[in-house]
Amino acid sequence: MDLTTNYLGMKLRNPLVVSASPLSDDLDDIKKMRDAGASAVVLRSIFEEQLRLERFELHHHLTSNTDSFSEALNFFPEPSEYHLGPDDYLEHIRKAKKAVDIPIIGSINGTSLGGWTDFAKVIEKAGADALELNIYAIPTDPDQTSDEVEQTYLDILKAVKGTVKIPVALKLSPFFSNLSHLARRFDQIGANALVLFNRFYQPDIDLETLELSSHVLFSTPQAMRLPLRWIAILSQRIKADLAATGGIYSAQDVVKMLLVGANVTMFASALMESGLSHLRTVEKDLQDWMEKNEYESVQQMRGSMSQIHCEEPSAFERAQYVRAIKSYVPAKGN
């Protein structure tokens, strides 16, 4: 049984990848992931905005209320150096690379072009095998056109590709007017993979205090329908690899994603809920399913049900929805 797959120019032992999450913060956990069968690990994103805000915050706290009162001209010792950059993150990459033999993929969320490229450069230098660009922005400016929004993504990718030699994956949100078109343009610039889809934190309301709350929800199994559709549509239409992420919990989910054309499937919520060893179960179930259904390899099944290869290509398009409703016949009687 050949579970290997190719992703970002690397041959992975199976299609089970741990996606960017706090799970990979601890070196021991990365080892456990490897032991449980993960074929690669994407580290938690480094957020340029957060680093920037933290610098402002530190500067604010170290300068406010200083030189005001004769007995207390300041309140903190001034360290001779700060670790304000991504130093910890880079160190983590280095250590992770030493600790495990599976690929380690760095992840960035930038806010400025300079930030994207600077981080990309240092992450490559720290030894990451590949890079995932976690482009995470909710455009709200009514004067900004869709074109401009898309151009920003293209500019970032172009800049990063021009900076590093390691493969670059692009993690996207599903909220584009025509993802197929945009995907092709990413492809032209040289994106090595598209990771579908990014999940934004959605705000909630605390009815007690009438304040917005932002606690994170795990993705639900239903969420996988969206990447499933788009991977199916994009598969074999672009050169870039495709990674499925969001709502993948079981081997069945993995199989579905592979069938529509995903190179890899990514796990986070499932592992948070069931523990890192869950990967072992998934791998075994995958093997069992393939055996039972007489598939020889992941390569063989990958994309066999993509829009191009499936029996009913339009099922992946909007009509599917219409038909679904038509086919839904309410039970007669009460």
Partner: protein, 1202 residues
């Protein structure tokens, strides 16, 4: 030898030499010497080595007494050891100083000389502290300037090793310790050349070691003690020579030559002034000027005061000396003369007898005092002193620099006398603490000092208020050395960085003819002139000054700098002062920005660079018209309705004219009226809270938490609204017991600091716009006048009858009048709400003992005090003794109150026949538990006093004097964690163990806040503080647990922001408990690096994470067979790390030492888990009681307690 110049202050200069020539450093924070210890600690943290290549060990002790003990011990064990201190700290070292000197141990103590607490505490500079140690046997070496403070630190260290006499090296607090000047740093090569390694080896050889044991510290008896005391004479005899030798060696190494007594002046001078410290430099300049006018005058600078070398003194005097004035910067009441004066008088006697020196006849000698508590000492005063010597009968025992209209000691001087020449540029800047003015000026001094051949000097005068504090920077630079150790009083350049100062301070008073006035204001080019008060316009015209304006806030905001206008104003200064070519100055500012902020990230650099680039485009010169046409007059500093003393005395101090007050204006014993903050309307808030009665649920949380008591609530009869101003707000009271009454929340608009804590705590939301609450911030200026009227009307509304209030209900309790209001604490202070609560509940019968610290500063720093009185003129009586003795101070108050009550009771019984036995018994047996009880007892005592007046007996007269003590009094002992956990812990422990009825309130900010954030034993693990740059490695001391161990102490741990009703309960129970009580109150603080408007959320998070426990331990419950410990179960809703990351004190460790942060944060979680587990275990225990009924219940296995 390569000369290295640096622009630093006196503290850093002294510490630099001390650190590099010592191995062990024991420290404790005290103003103005704290920065020396902080530098040492920082250098240790950075791994800087001393001249022997090893990193000195720096340890913070619990007090200066402890530091001195540690120094003594380290010296005994053979290490080169030093410490830094001042004032009261030095007093605490005296016992060890005698020992160290008696044992002939080389040691240097570096002192930033400061006033002692006498009729009042003062943090400023004079020689009272060092003079108090002159009999200890320490040699005393005085530095006069920043340069000398590093030079003499080394000379003292060299001389102590050579002479075996320990040295006290001192320089003037603030004037030298905080003056920034361009000096030549001492290289390690100079240090190595001056420190003799064989002498270090000898020091070690003499040390205690079990390998060659000796005994030291014996007890001696009448047979030998005296002789033993005389054994050291020859060392003292040799000391002066050794010091001069070290000075000579130093001169060869550095080119800077010093003498034990250094004469400067005319070779044939007949009038000489003798003094010590920074005043010498001023005298030096004045003498130069007077000599240039042909006067024959001179100055003797005393460098080595102890041992006093009479021969050297005499040899320093020119043969022509006819009269001498000796100036002391200290006061010894009751002595024949102040100390330096007496020493010099004696020196003349002995010197003339022995024929030392060249003078043959006894000159006329007079002594005088100057400069106490950093009082200005100017060239004009030096001239007055020298002029006095011209008199046939010069005034003796004079003072100079003040007006003594009572005993007429003062010399008159001409304040206009000034000799500073045109070659020297002088500038004065008025800024706000938070706007970065001082930092920018320090930086400008550095730029000028390091990029030009100019000498440069900066001195900074800070406000004593913590919120809205004004800073005044005094800068000088010029081609010749600057010896002016006084404030700039003729400036070429005056900058006002805050528009609001225009109406408060006459800043142009010190502008020289043809000078420049730069104003930061939001006014356009055409309107700026019209916004100037008339007096400003008049002076600009009469002084032919130039006037420039810039909207620095706009530039700062547009550049992303927020309210930091420092860089913008700095660029304008350089553009206008022409000390450097404009391009060069801008390049240097940019270079310095990169250097200063580079490590903090490129964004910070970029925004500063943006500000530089945009500043000059917004700087405009405003033509000064020929005529004054302004309509704005400067308002009086306090309301004309204020009492006379407030208007005439305190008002002058507010205006910055306190120096002009004569002796007669001041109280003779340091006693001041309370209730004075109300008269100073500071108007420092940009925005103030505005109440929305429609949204309000009348919980009064806003007034409960208001740190400045500016939000008040009242409930009253509707008829009281007659005559209310049109905008006065009122609504129906919601509390069922107030049916039919009206309710108002009113803000004092001119006293509010705009902290916003009230808004954050408000739980009510506007139903149609959820961002609004029942209280919202709005710009103050448009509201000021209307709300002032509303506030005044509100004050006249009747205050609720205390007898009718349910005090354990916050809404009702908040109707009590705060007797602590409008303090100068930081905006959003976390301590003051607790004080205000105490004052509301018990203030009308409270004596307050207040430890030195933030609370004594915002509570008792002149001119105003927030402690006030109610309509019956009752209120807290407040005093501050010291930092270290506050618990004992309060215990003394309790003993006095109890004794007088006991005596009054005895007298009552003695007079019971005349007064009626039943009535006497009623008075004696009054329970006084409730407000109503106390009210009734007050009525009885008032009646008693009336009756006593008609009884003609000594007992009746005696009883009149103590009758008030028959009404219940309470004693509150208040202080911060520095007091309670560290310096005052011994006393605190003794006081809670005394069983006496006192209440201790620990305002726990977990750091020494007042002195600038040094670690205390209350500092939690992982917090970064001064002396804990790598994060405090150990857990916070559990003071509550220690107190509980006595069993009979009421203990509460509270956090107002987490659970306000718990706090209220604790205060009520603590006061009700007839024994010692201690409340440990979580007090957020700017020193924690938090956002003050939302600081109560930090308190909440501290409790929700388990970092802070809420509990009450009430020994009275034992009698009921209940567990005395009631723990609010730790919520553990959030991990400790989430709380820690809310505060810079913890979070910055993740940026400075990420590894340590990870480890310490993990340990902090374990601490919290363990603590919670232990407290939960204790609180869950069934209580075995001595109560027979309970024992019976227990034996029957019935439920007991919790």
């Amino acid at each position: 030898m390569n000369k290295v110049y640096e622009t630093i202050d006196g503290n850093e200069a002294a510490a630099s030499a001390a650190y590099r020539t010592n191995e062990v450093i024991a420290i404790y924070p005290i103003t103005p010497s704290s920065p020396m210890g902080e530098w040492a600690d920082q250098w240790m943290a950075e791994g800087k080595t001393n001249i022997w290549g090893t990193i000195p060990k720096v340890v913070e002790m619990q007090s200066e007494g402890g530091a001195a003990g540690a120094v003594h011990g380290a010296l005994q064990a053979g290490s080169l050891t030093t410490t830094f201190t001042a004032s009261q700290g030095l007093l605490l070292m005296i016992p060890n100083m005698y020992k160290i000197a008696g044992e002939l141990t080389p040691n240097v103590i570096h002192v930033a000389a400061r006033s002692l607490a006498v009729q009042a505490l003062s943090i400023f500079g004079d020689h009272s502290d060092v003079m108090a140690t002159r009999s200890t046997g320490y040699a005393m070496l005085a530095s006069n300037s920043v340069q000398e403070s590093t030079d003499f630190a080394l000379i003292a260290q060299a001389a102590t090793l050579r002479s075996r006499i320990p040295f006290l090296h001192f320089f003037d607090g603030f004037r030298t310790s905080h003056e920034v000047a361009k000096i030549e740093l001492l290289g390690d090569d100079v240090l190595c050349a001056m420190i003799d390694n064989p002498l270090v080896a000898e020091h070690r050889q003499r040390a205690l070691s079990p390998d060659h044991p000796v005994l030291r510290g014996t007890a001696q008896n009448p047979d030998v003690y005296f002789q033993g005391r005389e054994t050291t004479n020859r060392f003292y005899d040799a000391c002066a020579g050794i010091v001069q030798q070290a000075m000579d060696q130093f001169a060869k190494l550095t080119g800077r030559a010093y003498k034990l007594f250094e004469y400067h002046g005319s070779p044939d001078a007949d009038r000489i002034v003798v003094l010590m410290g920074s005043g010498c430099d001023t005298a030096h300049e004045a003498v130069d000027h007077l000599m240039s006018k042909g006067e024959k005058v001179g100055v003797i600078k005393v460098r080595l005061y102890r041992p006093f070398d009479v021969e050297s003194f005499m040899k320093a005097l020119p043969a022509t000396t006819k009269s001498v004035a000796i100036l002391d910067r200290t006061k010894e009441p009751g002595s024949a003369g102040d100390p330096l004066y007496l020493d010099c008088v004696y020196a003349f006697k002995e010197g003339l007898e022995k024929g030392w020196g060249v003078i043959k006849n006894m000159p006329k000698i007079v002594g005088g005092r100057y400069g106490l508590s950093s009082k200005e000492f100017t060239q004009a005063m030096v001239k007055a002193v020298l002029d006095n010597l011209r008199q046939a009968q010069p005034k003796d025992h004079f003072t100079v620099g003040i007006l003594d209209d009572v005993t007429h000691t003062s010399l008159a001087y001409d304040p206009e006398f000034n000799t500073e020449g045109a070659e020297r540029f002088r500038a004065v800047f008025y800024g706000l603490g938070s706007d970065g003015t001082v930092g920018a000026n320090k930086n400008s001094i550095k730029i000028i000092g390091e990029n030009t051949d100019n000498f440069a000097q900066g001195y900074f005068v800070y406000d004593s208020k913590k919120a809205g504090a004004m800073t005044v920077s005094h800068l000088r630079f010029g081609p010749k050395p600057i010896r002016s150790s006084y404030l700039v009083n003729k400036a070429n350049f005056v900058a006002c960085h805050q528009t609001v100062f225009l109406e408060r301070y006459d800043m142009l008073r010190y502008l020289d003819q043809g000078g420049i006035f730069l104003l930061n204001a939001p006014y356009g080019k055409d309107e700026a002139w019209n916004h100037l008060p008339r007096t400003f316009q008049e002076q600009l015209i009469s002084k032919k000054a130039k006037f420039f304006v810039i909207d620095a806030y706009k530039v700062a905001r547009d550049s992303g700098m927020g309210n930091r206008i420092n860089t913008v104003m700095q660029v304008c200064f350089f553009a206008l002062c022409n000390v450097l070519p404009k391009e060069q100055s801008i390049a240097e500012i940019k270079h310095s920005i990169e250097k200063t902020y580079g490590k903090k990230g490129e964004e910070i650099v970029r925004m500063n660079l943006n500000a530089v680039d945009h500043a000059l485009a917004h700087l405009f010169e405003i033509p000064v018209p020929a005529k004054v046409d302004g309509k704005i007059e400067m308002p009086p500093p306090v309301s004309p309705e204020a009492p006379q003393f407030v208007r005439d005395v305190l008002g002058k101090m507010i205006k910055g004219e306190g120096d002009d007050l004569p002796v007669s204006a001041l109280p003779i014993d340091g006693t001041f009226p309370t209730g004075t903050c109300q008269w100073e309307k500071r108007n420092i808030a940009q925005e103030i809270p505005v109440w929305d009665p429609q949204v309000c649920i009348q919980c009064t949380k806003c007034s409960f938490v208001c740190p400045h008591a500016v939000i008040r609530a009242k409930v009253y009869d509707p008829k009281e609204l007659a005559g209310a101003p049109a905008t006065f707000k009122s609504t129906d009271a919601k509390d069922p017991s107030w049916k039919g009454r009206k309710f108002t929340i009113q803000v004092a608009p001119e006293d509010c600091t705009g902290c916003g804590v009230c808004v954050d705590v408000c739980p009510a939301r506007n139903k149609s716009e959820a961002r609004l609450r029942a209280i919202n911030m709005n710009p103050q200026l448009p509201l000021r006048e209307k709300e002032r009227d509303n506030w005044n009307f509100f004050l006249k509304l009747p205050t609720a009858d205390r007898r009718e209030l349910k005090v354990n209900n916050i809404r009702q309790q908040q109707m009590m009048q705060p007797l602590f209001e409008f303090s100068s604490a930081c905006a959003g202070c976390g301590e003051t709400p607790y004080l205000k609560l105490m004052s509301q509940l018990f203030g009308d019968r409270a004596l307050v003992a207040n430890a030195t610290g933030c609370s004594s500063i915002y509570g008792g720093n002149l001119p105003m005090t927030p402690w006030t009185t109610n309509r019956d003129h009752r209120g807290p009586a407040w005093s501050n003794s010291l930092f270290e003795d506050n618990a004992e101070f309060g215990l003394g108050m309790r003993m006095a109150v109890d004794k007088q009550k006991e005596y009054a009771s005895e007298l009552l019984l003695r007079l019971s026949d005349q007064l009626g036995n039943d009535w006497v018994q009623t008075i004696l047996n009054a329970t006084q538990k409730t407000e109503a009880d106390i009210y009734e007892q007050r009525e009885r005592v008032a009646g008693l006093k009336k009756r006593l007046q008609s009884i003609n007996s000594e007992d009746a007269r005696q009883l009149l004097g103590v009758a008030d003590m028959l009404v219940k009094k309470c004693v509150w002992i208040i202080g911060g964690d520095g007091w309670a956990y560290d310096i005052g812990f011994g006393g605190l422990d003794h006081v809670i163990a005394s069983g006496m009825n006192v209440n201790l309130l620990v305002l726990d900010t977990e750091v020494y806040s007042n002195t600038g954030g040094q670690m205390s034993k209350s500092t939690p693990r992982g917090a970064v503080a001064k002396f804990a740059a790598s994060g405090k490695p150990l857990a916070k001391k559990d003071l509550g647990m220690i107190a509980m161990s006595y069993g009979n102490v009421y203990v509460a741990s509270v956090a107002m922001g987490a659970k306000d009703d718990h706090t209220l309960k604790a205060f009520l129970e603590a006061e009700a408990y007839d024994g010692p009580s201690i409340i440990i109150a979580y007090s957020h603080c700017i020193a924690q690096g938090i956002n003050m408007p939302t600081a109560l959320q930090n308190q909440k998070a501290a409790v929700e994470s388990g970092q802070w426990l809420l509990y009450r331990y009430n020994p009275e419950r034992v009698a009921q067979g209940e567990n005395p410990l009631q723990l609010e179960k730790p919520a553990k809703k959030i991990p400790i790390s989430q709380y820690l990351n809310m505060e810079n004190r913890f979070k910055m460790l993740t940026k400075s030492k990420p590894e340590a942060a990870k480890r310490l944060f993990d340990e902090a979680q374990k601490d919290a888990d363990k603590r919670a587990q232990y407290y939960e275990y204790l609180a869950a225990r069934k209580w075995v009681s001595a109560n027979p009924q309970t024992q019976e219940a227990e034996s029957k296995n019935l439920p007991v307690g919790r």
